[in-house]
């Protein structure tokens, strides 16, 4: 009578331990029907759009997989955290955000890059500030997101103008807070991107410099977990293919882009402004991108945005090869 | 010095017409069943309640509704939890702008008289109910006012302590020549301590009975006058003494 319960306990314990072990390296077991967990951002990039209009689902279906799309993340950092914890497989960010995140999590792998005309990121100034060019930033306040696109663009601009970080007052604000501060005139200038940039421009802000004017290597990128890429290369290829399909569709007809922004809360003016820019084209994360990534990483170290150099050589994968 | 009190009625009629005169140096005890309005009467005399009708006169001066002319002890001890017992008692003098050292010294003396010397530096919640009541009594009398109004001052004391306290009060009252009222539910106590005893009864309450006590002082506490028997009996509705006016035989 004593042996039965004890055996049961042993079995239960073993099962529990096995369960723990299983969750610890779930990626080792390659179950083909596990959904690809996609973390979209609130910004309307190719991944967000493809997840929303079925393009992604169709592409994955062809590869024998399916997608599980999360609630939108407001920024890359929380999405990267979820990915590092093994709860996401694919998400989006910027080159700069990825470089910063590599400091703590070396398992991010860029698999796709969005190419634009270099006009989706830049520095704007309030209409009353009187700032015309980057040299005028001297002695003024500039809102940037710390350690990301904004700060990167500002450093590039300062470099171009021969100014140092002491010559401007850097104000660290996340994009929504920066939007409020900029609109209220609490800062003179703002380094930002996408709908934030266009939103400011539509409101009458003056464009001081665009990304292409500053020689920026920063682009919207799509990243995956290294373990996931290693285990399911076909699924990752399918995701990137979906992004390419989406880009092609937008090139033919950019109207869905405007519609998506309006649905997300943008005004007609902002949506129109965004559509006026050429929609992004998709590129694979190739050697050219590797060079950009390395340049951004070096810049970060040089500017003191990173305490120590990070190894970016393994942080990209051309999924075609 | 008189305390005169022609008529009174609370908002819910608690007191009917009560006409009361107290001579200087007199201690008038007020008895009656619980809830009959004794405390209300005392509060009116103290100036804390305004009667619907009537006035309170102190030596001819109208003090209706204006407190602080008498030393008033409420039924709950209401000692301040954030002060020591000593500082609670000393408060009586501090509010009269007496210096802290002197106030504390005199407070200590009064506490000693009431047997609480050892607990002067304790906090009220460390004391038993009876001790707190004694401390509150000390606080009341230390004010040094000539008119003293006490609402059940010995209610929480055990029998033996109560006797000692009654003895103390009788002696102190005489020594200080206080004038005032003492409310109690203990008829024996009233008869022991008072120069006159009033019995309130009825709803609204009126003075159902008024008895002069001429037994000479000092009286022995615990051995009440024979009249007690009469009071008790008449309280039950049996009129024995021709001096009582309408025997309102309200229920108790």
């Amino acid at each position: 009578m004593n042996r039965r319960p004890r055996a049961l306990v042993v079995v239960l314990l073993a099962a529990a331990l096995a369960g723990c072990a299983a969750t610890a390296d779930a990626t080792a077991t390659s179950a083909p029907q596990q959904p690809v967990r996609v973390g979209v951002l609130t910004t309307q990039n190719l991944l967000t759009l493809a997840s929303g209009d079925g393009t992604l689902e169709r592409s994955l279906d062809r590869a024998g997989a399916r997608a599980e799309v999360t609630e939108p993340f407001a920024a890359f950092a929380p999405a990267a955290e979820a990915m590092a914890a093994g709860r996401l497989d694919v998400t989006s960010g910027s080159t700069t955000a990825v470089v910063a995140a590599l400091a703590g999590d070396p398992d991010l792998v860029v698999v796709a890059v969005e190419r634009t005309d270099g006009d989706t990121q830049g520095i704007v100034a309030t209409s009353t500030s009187g700032i015309a060019g980057v040299a005028d930033l001297a002695g003024r306040s500039v809102a940037v997101n710390r350690g990301g696109t904004g700060e990167y663009l500002l450093r590039l601009a300062l470099g171009r103008a021969g100014l140092g970080t002491d010559d401007v007052e850097t104000v660290y604000l996340a994009p929504p807070d920066a939007a409020a501060a900029f609109a209220a005139g609490r800062v003179d200038a703002w380094a930002t991107w996408d709908q934030y940039l266009v939103g400011a421009q539509v409101d009458g802000a003056r464009t001081v410099a665009l990304a292409r004017d500053l020689g920026s290597d920063n682009a919207t990128v799509h990243v995956a977990r290294r373990a996931f890429v290693d285990a399911h290369p076909d699924a990752v290829r399918a995701v990137v293919a979906a992004l390419a399909d989406e880009a092609d569709a937008l090139a033919a007809d950019p109207a869905p882009l405007a519609a998506a922004y309006r649905a997300a809360g943008a005004s007609h003016a902002v949506a129109a402004g965004l559509t006026a820019l050429r929609p992004p084209r998709l590129a694979y994360a190739d050697d050219a991108f590797a060079a950009e990534l390395a340049r951004v990483a070096d810049r970060y170290v040089a500017e003191g945005l990173l305490a120590e150099p990070v190894d970016v050589s393994r942080a990209w994968r051309d999924v075609r090869g | 010095m008189h305390v005169t009190h022609p008529g009174a009625r609370g908002r819910l009629p608690v007191l009917g017409g009560v006409d009361l005169r107290v001579g200087r140096g007199e201690l008038v005890c007020v008895v009656g069943p619980s809830g009959c309005g004794k405390s209300t009467l005392l509060a009116v005399v103290a100036g804390l309640l305004r009667p619907g009708r009537g006035r309170v006169l102190l030596a001819g001066r109208d003090v209706t509704g204006s407190p602080a002319h008498a030393a008033y002890l409420p039924q709950q001890d209401l000692l301040f939890a954030w002060h020591t017992v000593l500082d609670n008692v000393a408060l009586a003098l501090r509010v009269q702008r007496v210096g802290r050292r002197e106030a504390r010294a005199r407070a200590r003396d009064v506490l000693a008289e009431l047997g609480l010397a050892a607990f002067a530096d304790a906090r009220p919640d460390e004391l038993s109910g009876g001790m707190r009541q004694r401390a509150a009594l000390a606080r009341t009398v230390l004010q040094g006012r000539e008119v003293v109004l006490l609402d059940e001052p010995f209610g929480a004391l055990d029998a033996l302590t109560r006797l000692d306290a009654q003895r103390w009060l009788a002696a102190t009252w005489a020594a200080h020549r206080w004038t005032g009222l003492l409310v109690t539910h203990d008829v024996g106590e009233a008869v022991t301590l008072g120069d006159r005893v009033l019995r309130l009864a009825g709803r609204p309450a009126v003075v159902a009975q008024e008895v002069e006590l001429d037994e000479p002082r000092p009286r022995t506490p615990g051995v009440p006058d024979e009249r007690v028997a009469r009071m008790l009996l008449s309280g039950l509705g049996v009129v024995l003494d021709e001096r009582t006016s309408d025997a309102r035989a309200g229920l108790g």
């Binding site: 955290e81 660290y172 409020a180 | 939890a81 919640d125």
Partner: protein, 277 residues
């Protein structure tokens, strides 16, 4: 022997959690991105202390809370007292403050930035408001909850309105106000976290934002632990204040009037003349 054990006992469950954490970290089966081991967090703490980042962050955050909560608590006490004493004041002040109570900090912060500007003022203001509301609520409740007979007693002793307020009502309301103070400091820290997440250049919040940007989960956890420790610290300070102001009984207060088994009751005497314990 009893005293040290009694002091340790409340900490046992926390200790157990810490030990569990260390064991989980050492076992190697927990992803360090999900839960960094205590060693990693300590190392991060060491690095940040050595390069001065942590002390500077603590100083910046601490100053904001000290100034903001100080102002908020002060104004809260004052308003609570006024609203408790004066019906007119209560009518003016109470509803707006009750409304503010439910507004989430995250919603208000950008508005504050727009109205007040950047830098210290919006953060300190948010902390002040976060501290003000619980203090006000507790104080006004404490003042109004004071036994009305105490007011009567004060009148009987000849205390005017002002002295009744300062010497009777305020001390009587103090226990409730101190409870409010503890709550207020807790909310103040929460408000600080939110405020520091917006305009994050100095303070523990800036450290936290950076840690997230640079995917340093160990630093994120460190910041969380720092906030927790700071909260415990301020809580202990208030409890010390309670003991100082309310006496050692404040740990287990008994309402006045409850009969206690007398450890101190004197025995009645049978001698005449005077009462002796």
């Amino acid at each position: 022997m009893r005293r040290p054990r009694a002091a340790v006992r409340p900490w046992l469950s926390t200790l157990a959690l810490l030990v569990g954490w260390a064991v989980a970290g050492a076992s190697g089966r927990v992803d360090p991105h999900v839960l960094p081991a205590p060693g990693a967090v300590l190392r991060a703490a060491g690095d940040l202390t050595v390069d001065g980042a942590l002390p500077a962050a603590l100083a910046a955050s601490g100053t904001r809370v000290a100034v903001g909560a100080g102002a908020g608590v002060g104004v809260g006490l004052l308003l609570g007292l006024l609203a408790g004493l004066s019906v007119a004041a209560h009518d003016v002040v109470d509803r707006p403050l009750q409304a503010v109570r439910t507004v989430p900090f995250t919603a208000v912060t950008p508005l504050l930035v727009m109205w007040v500007g950047l830098g210290e003022p919006p953060k300190v203001l948010l902390v002040a408001v976060a501290a003000l509301v619980p203090t006000y609520l507790a104080t006004v409740g404490g003042v109004r909850g004071v036994d009305p007979r105490l007011r009567e007693l004060a009148a009987a002793y000849g205390l005017g309105r002002r002295r009744t307020a300062t010497r009777v009502l305020l001390p009587a309301a103090l226990p409730a106000a101190l409870v409010g103070l503890r709550l207020a400091l807790g909310t103040a820290w929460v408000a600080l976290v939110v405020a520091e997440s917006v305009d994050a250049s100095t303070g523990v919040g800036a450290l936290l934002t950076d840690a997230r940007t640079y995917a340093r989960t160990d630093v994120v956890l460190l910041c969380v632990l720092v906030y927790a420790a700071l909260g415990l610290l301020t809580d202990a300070l208030v409890r010390g204040l309670e003991r100082a102001l309310l006496g050692p009984a404040s740990a287990h207060p008994a309402p006045l009037g409850t009969p206690r088994p007398p450890a101190l009751v004197g025995r009645p005497s049978t001698t005449s003349g005077g009462l002796h314990p």
